[in-house]
Amino acid sequence: MAYNTLIVDDSPTMRKVIRKSLAISGFEVGECWEAGDGRQALTLLQSHSVDLILVDFNMPEMNGLEMIRELKKDEKRRRIPVVMITTHSNDWVVQEGTALGIQGFIQKPFHPETIRDVLTALMEKADV
């Protein structure tokens, strides 16, 4: 099964690298969209059918945690699985993210295999 995926990161090169890593890893991606911050991502989610969100923490305008907090208020989209890919792996980010319903955390730098393993396990559980 291929999953429609939204990549949210303020670095355009990191978004490209995540896309490539997904392709290399063998994780099946259907449509793939990109957003440069949380606010753009929430707007994009209104008009696209997304199965999975990969989000950075540190972004201008609206950071990853703020974006997921808003997403969880949206009854239609609050169950979309979310994985945070970030340099921030300190306890408070993970604790706050987990409390918000973020199901996976991947620290940068990462190997494509790590992305595949985390996403495959998550999507099998989510059964989108």
């Binding site: 303020d10 670095s11 355009p12 090169t13 990191m14 490209k16 690298v17 490539k20 540190n58 201008p60 970030t86 340099t87 921030h88 792996s89 300190n90 306890d91 408070w92 620290q107 940068k108 730098p109 990462f110 190997h111």
Partner: protein, 166 residues
């Protein structure tokens, strides 16, 4: 504390260089290797670009910043490795974005190693191309913890500033 920060910064930078950019960093204690200057690109003012300089600041339990300076040619190689492109395919905005992301990753990993419980936020990283003269000037003005690496035979300087260490 400064030795702990030094060790953590070396470990964080080495991990990021190797895992995401496919180059190897060794701490350089003595004289730095000569920088490969074959890769130069004219600045708009006409002086040659020889260095890529980047900075990211952090706020919270450990306010401060890190600054990284690396030769243009090495930055280009690393950007190409990071993006899976040929060096000639890397644009200047991409090169600067990659340099910013490099600083971002080193800062995040540094905090993970120093104190997993630290509450902090990172500012938006910035990067720019600078000339040889500007690099020398900025290097002479640095006052923080200075760490020099040999990365694939080229000099890379990492400066860590924790104005109020614990």
């Amino acid at each position: 504390m400064s030795e702990e920060i030094r060790r953590a910064a070396i470990a964080a930078a080495s991990k990021v260089f190797e895992k995401m950019f496919f180059v190897f960093a060794e701490e350089e204690e003595e004289a730095a290797p000569e920088t490969d200057r074959k890769e130069e690109r004219p600045l708009s003012a006409g002086s040659p670009v020889q260095w890529v300089w980047g900075e990211i600041a952090f706020q919270g339990d450990f306010p401060g910043n890190i600054r990284l300076t690396l030769p243009y040619g090495l930055a280009l190689t690393m950007a190409a490795n990071f993006m899976g492109l040929e060096e000639k395919e890397v644009s200047e905005p991409e090169l600067l974005d990659v340099a910013s992301e490099l600083n971002n990753m080193i800062a995040g990993n540094l905090f993970s190693l120093l104190n997993k419980k630290a509450q902090y936020t990172l500012t938006k990283p910035r990067a720019e191309l600078i000339s040889e003269g500007e690099e020398e000037k900025r290097r002479s003005q640095e006052s923080g913890l200075k760490i020099r690496f040999n990365v694939d035979g080229q000099r890379v300087d990492l400066n860590v500033h924790f104005p109020k260490p614990e």
